[in-house]
Symmetry: C2
Subunit: 411 residues, 2 copies
């Protein structure tokens, strides 16, 4: 993309009410725009980051048999009454609205009820299972307080996967596969070293659920872990009984702040039973369907990555998340001409700073935006038939030959 013609503008200041450092950077660098508290737009750079994150998640979920769909935001109260999740005193984050034709509707904060109900049309027999269905979908939560930029918002992009099984064994099998997929996803997102499968409260039908917590100071949660982090548990389950189960001692645990970047639940019959999702088994007997659900907050993950990888100059995106791989800053007329040639055909990987600005201003923007490699072409580098490549992460820069850079572009 050519910066001169683009809707990518850096700002001097971020809104004063943004407390998370990354939120300020994301706004200043032109990734997101704040509509209201907890409500954001994704600008060209931000949308590219979101799509990169979605791409990684999609690949790993497809590998374990996930099938992508897209469900509606508008919700029929009747489904949610069956599970007692419509009442505002039970679930306090609903946005509700009214049909002009009469009747109440809700804006989905999650989709267990509608997916379970929908499957009644398609799943009749044990032969129709197992099934794993997921979506990238905009969720709405009427949070009393929204904070930390895109870490906790009222409208956000979520990946929600639901699995359906004939037996507890098969649910366990898939749950384990999902754990594997999640590990790969966080690894590829650059969060692998700091993200831990964490014991959390399980609700009615299982003792524990698993959250994925990324250790990060701006996180909203507190987690406890032992020395080698082989056991990590949410503060909410720091109870003697739980510690006994997990065979760890309270005095061996350290605490830290963390952000929840995903969760997985064995739901068993929690939704299939009240909503009546049943199948006939091999002996033609009717049985309930076993269910699991598996979430990743896509926009929150973007915020966590931004927060994890930033320094005092701005964002530092991992290469596979970055909106562009190269920030190309030509200086001088001959350099401009060469930059145009290099840019042609590489519009997806090069952000070309062809603006009429001083080099220092361009460099500052490149650092703020966190593009992995800054390439400078000037009379000086041209004299040596080379370009200067600076790595955002390390700050190191060196000259490489023009041919070598062309080879990098061709990869």
């Amino acid at each position: 993309m050519r910066l001169s013609q683009s809707f990518i503008k850096t700002l001097r200041d971020a809104p004063k009410d943004e407390t998370a450092r990354s939120a300020g950077y994301l706004i200043r660098a032109g990734y997101i725009y704040k509509e209201m508290a907890g409500i954001y737009d994704y600008l060209p750079l931000g949308l590219k980051v979101i799509e990169n994150i979605k791409g990684i998640i999609r690949e790993e979920l497809n590998k374990i048999g996930g099938q992508e769909i897209l469900m509606s935001s508008l919700q029929n109260p009747e489904l949610w009454k069956k599970t007692d999740r419509w009442d505002d005193t039970k679930v306090d984050i609903w946005f509700k609205t009214e049909l002009s034709a009469g009747g109440e509707l809700g804006l989905a904060p999650t989709h267990e009820e509608p997916i379970t109900n929908m499957l009644k049309t398609y799943v009749k027999s044990y032969k129709d299972l197992p099934l794993a269905v997921y979506q990238f979908q905009t969720k709405f939560r009427n949070e009393l307080r929204a904070k930390s930029g895109i870490l906790r918002t009222r409208e956000f992009l979520m990946k929600d996967l639901y699995s359906f099984h004939t037996s507890e064994e098969d649910l366990d099998r898939f749950y384990h596969e999902a754990e594997g997929a999640y590990a790969k996803i966080y690894e590829r997102l650059g969060l692998g070293d700091d993200t831990f499968e964490t014991f959390a409260s399980g609700g009615v039908f299982s003792k524990y659920s698993h959250e994925y917590q990324t250790i990060i100071p701006v996180g909203e949660d507190t987690v406890y872990y032992n020395k080698d982090k082989s056991v990590v548990l949410n503060e909410e389950v720091l109870l003697d009984e739980v510690l006994d189960d997990l065979k760890v001692k309270r005095e061996d645990l350290e605490s830290t702040r963390a952000a929840e970047v995903g969760n997985i639940f064995k739901l068993k019959f929690k939704y299939s039973e009240p909503l009546g999702l049943k199948i006939s088994d091999e002996n033609n007997a009717v049985q309930n369907v076993y269910m699991g659900c598996y979430g990743i907050g896509v926009s929150r993950v973007m915020g966590v990555i931004a927060e994890k990888f930033c320094d005092d100059k701005g964002l530092v995106w991992p290469e596979n998340i970055a909106p562009f791989k190269y920030y190309l800053a030509p200086i001088g007329e001959a350099a401009n001409k060469l930059a145009d040639e290099l840019y042609a055909g590489n519009e997806e990987t090069i952000l070309l700073d062809d603006r009429d600005l001083r080099p220092g201003e361009k460099f500052t923007d490149a650092e703020l935006m966190g593009i992995p490699y800054r390439i400078v072409i000037s009379d000086k580098t041209l004299a040596e038939n080379s370009v200067e490549i600076a790595t955002r992460k390390t700050g190191e820069s060196k000259l490489i030959s023009l041919d070598e850079f062309k080879k990098m572009l061709a990869v």
Copy 2:
């Protein structure tokens, strides 16, 4: 995708309240699921069709300099009060909701107000223009009546593009480019021959706007056209004054039903003025920004294509819209084995019907789903080292050599 393991199930019956033939087919063939009147989910096949349509639109809009973003659904009433579009007596299709922290919010039926307001942060000078920004975004409209499947819904996917200019000449230039892009889009969507740029009422700031109307019996609109369809106008502007302007006589016009698949408006200062989007010009004088907006209802376009291309057996997708290119139906053990080999590496183009069903049932489903080419492998075709290829559109089938089919797959 393997049908045996997929969440793609054909149904015998469609909901009785679906009047459009295509809506019944889309539901029965497993493309969409009806949550409530005017509210649909997109199942794996349907989501693929949506993504194919989006891909075509995205390519053409990027060619004219469009930059993709994603704005929020939740809307701040203050912006819409400035243009007098918040009041339910003025705009009667709002879904409104309330923040638990206090205050009203709306669900966006369109985005002129927020995009105009947002640009005040980024656009300050004539140097920042022109700009063309678009999104694929879920819109909400509180329609009193929803009908004809996904042709008129309460929640739908829309592509909305907004352009911003320093002068009327530049707006005209871009508007003309957008007309060119739209012509290409409808052509590539397979609707080119039946879709016409149509004069419609222009509102306050210009005499006419342009709608794109696809001639189709289930369409909600009535349009009038002369013999060669060089002039097409919406019923709402069938006035002597307009006919004079367009130099056509009423008696030379024929009428037909049509569905609006897009619209383009020269908005000029309609939103920039009340919302205060101004720039400094070359002489440092402050001026309003000229605006245009350009919509395409993505989910409606899917419905129109489905309706346009169907017969008494089911859907007949154009090749570049179809969720899969080939429906591969092996019959017998040796055929199954070969089908598995052909399928490997072609999961994106082949829908493999590996279900344990009679050939006739598979063929019926293939026709209902409207996959462009049905490939049958059987002992009979294997004896000739060939496969049978049936073209859904023409119904013609013939034997082609296995090698030839492999070459087709490699394309």
